[in-house]
Amino acid sequence: MDIFFTVLVFGLLLGGIYGLVSIGLNLIFGVVRIVNFAQGELVMFGMYGGFFAWHWWGINPYLSVFLVAPLVGLLGVAIQRLVIQPLQHEPNMQIFATFGLLMLFQNLMLMVSRGEAYSVGGQVGSTVLTVGDLKLSLVRVVTLVAATLITIGLHLFLARTMTGKAIRAVTQDKRAARAMGINVEKTFLITFGIGAALAGMAGVLLTPIYSITPGVGGNFILAAFAVVVLGGLGSVWGAYLGGLVVGIVEAFAGFYIDPVLRSAVWFVIFLIVLVVKPSGLLGQVGAEEVGFREQH
């Protein structure tokens, strides 16, 4: 029973990581209706940002996140304006474009780092909270807390603020929203910016515990897609809960079955969800047809 609880807690913490990385992806997917293949690279930029802030100026990642996340958000706005918006009538091309960005960003960081892996030293990465028998990495706990707070915050933002309502209107019906006077292009810019900033934030918060390489984004992106599909396309709570589910399943599969199979297990779940309820646990029905059906 003891071990069971330990594995469950580790699963929750891992789920927090997946949730945080996926929330931004889900927002972009739900609103702008494109699959942003470069989302992992935005996380990667967050990590490099966190590393350089620490390496050059000695700033703790928990402080530099307030600088780095908005910067990555601005990058997201630029991507939307310069790459996605010009292709707005070609949704399939938009997907290829984000893939192109993935390669561009990875190779850019390759050029900068020459392939050397970077790590942040210091206390943050090694601080462990002892709760009874459990030893919890502080960084992972903070990540789970951040994921929870962001999910709640984003939910409130979308429900209560004018900008949030505009985003929801655009998500439901782009043409009608435009007819109501909502600036759809601006809404997309804001959404992509927020989605990118969330990715950047996830990156900075994870900087203390991972080796940073240009390809590190790829380690998260597959899980993020599984989370987004499982939780429901376009649903903020879906991304959060989906992340927790994937994290818990992976932890249990890894410990009780075999660590080698941990990814395989949630791929199986991914497939089952796609067959049984393609829109995911909490998603809007029809969202799964993104790219194949004209978005009105």
Partner: protein, 407 residues
């Protein structure tokens, strides 16, 4: 204009003909150096080729071999498919005579195959996969160690170094073997298990994980349950670092930790901190602090490297590559040719004792042209630096094995 062009062409052709005989006599031996010079492994690919460059400098200083100097031509290879294309380019456009390489086994596999189609020698100095020599390609020779050699050195380290330090009998010593799950890690892990079992060790766990994994808590929980005396890990840098971090966070403390192939870079030290890294053992290519008795010329290599590149060596792969190239030159001399069949015939007859070269290599090829006397050492993190601690011959006087226990 056309008349001028054809007149010029005629002049150039005449000049070439006039100079040709002279050029023939001094035609350099063009060596295609295949490594990743771009991409995530560029740092190590470049380091390996620096070893070749230093070897070429040294050999050319004494006139090269067979009256011909060496000329190194770089071929960037970052993927197995690119290996084929680059080989073709180097053969047809640059007219290379033979190839050396390679930091990555998967690339060596396809590139050497492509080279065989042009009947060019592929002289391997670094890549580890056993398959490379087990294939029996007629143009392939490996001067450096293979994966099984790394596995054998790890098992020797467990028996000769770790068991005595832990004051435990080899029989019944509990070992957990962990590796990354591609052919690189699993192959070495399987040989490690086989050898350790013949030594009498008890393998209490045989685990694998993806090199790109985001979480190793399940693996570490299992290790904690098994409570091994020794943990052996074979993998790459990110998963190696993550494993150490997770072990540290969870307070799991095997009696000894032995890493194969990674765990020896400044970044790992940065990530884990000196206090945690101290005591950890690494199996790898011989480093710069080995004795002259173990690796004659190691100090000279270090000086030549510093003089040419104005920095310290980045990784021991370079000196291993340097040694491999020197052995190539000797084999060419013995064969009096660069043709693959003559090289293999000459290589089969070579017999030089261990510790004849800077990386501690000797020369004795088996029937698959794998050098059985390639040098490897075990080092230990001590005070934030790596010190060679095994075999005894390689250890600088005054250096002792420090405690293996985790802090």
């Amino acid at each position: 204009m056309r008349a001028l062009k054809s007149w010029l062409a005629g002049l150039v052709a005449l000049a070439t003909l006039a100079l040709a005989p002279a050029a023939q006599a001094q035609a350099p031996i063009k060596v295609g150096a295949l490594n990743p010079y771009s991409g995530p492994l560029a740092l190590y690919g470049t380091e390996v080729t620096r070893g070749y460059e230093l070897a070429v400098d040294r050999l050319n200083a004494s006139g090269g071999v067979l009256g011909r100097r060496f000329e190194l031509i770089r071929g960037d290879v970052t993927s197995p498919q690119q290996g084929i294309a680059t080989v073709e380019q180097l053969v047809t456009r640059d007219k290379v005579d033979l190839f050396v390489g390679t930091y990555i086994s998967a690339i060596a596999l396809t590139a050497s195959d492509a080279a065989q189609r042009y009947n060019k020698l592929y002289w391997e100095t670094n890549a580890l996969a056993a398959q490379l020599t087990e294939r029996g390609l007629p143009n392939f020779v490996r001067a450096g160690p293979d994966g099984p050699a790394f596995a054998a050195m790890s098992a020797a380290a467990v028996r000769e170094l770790i068991a005595p330090a832990l004051k435990k009998d080899m029989r019944g010593l509990t070992v957990w073997i962990e590796s990354e799950d591609s052919i690189y890690g699993t192959q070495i892990a399987q040989v490690q298990r086989r050898i350790l079992e013949t030594f009498g060790a008890k393998i209490v766990g045989f685990g694998a994980h993806s090199a790109r994994t985001v979480d190793l808590n399940d693996t570490v929980l299992r290790i904690r349950q098994a409570n091994p005396d020794v943990l052996v890990q074979t993998g790459y840098v990110p998963d190696g670092n993550l494993l150490l971090r997770t072990l540290r966070d969870q307070g799991v403390k095997p009696g000894a930790i032995l890493y194969v192939g990674t765990g020896d870079t400044p970044e790992t030290l940065q990530a884990l901190g000196e206090k945690y890294m101290d005591g950890i053992l690494i199996v790898g290519y011989p480093r710069n602090d080995i004795t002259e008795a173990f690796g004659p010329g190691a100090k000279a290599y270090l000086e030549a490297y510093r003089a040419k590149y104005k920095a310290d060596p980045i990784a021991p792969q370079g000196m291993n590559a340097y040694t491999g190239f020197l052995i190539l030159a000797e084999t060419i001399k013995a064969a009096n040719s660069i043709e693959p069949d003559k090289i293999q015939a000459a290589a089969a007859k070579l017999d030089k004792p261990e510790h004849s070269y800077p990386s501690g290599h000797g020369v004795k090829f088996d029937k698959n042209f794998q050098n059985l006397r390639a040098g490897l050492t075990v080092s230990q993190w001590q005070g934030g630096k790596l010190a060679t601690v095994y075999p005894k011959l390689a250890v600088t006087p005054g250096v002792t094995l420090k405690p293996l226990a985790r802090p």
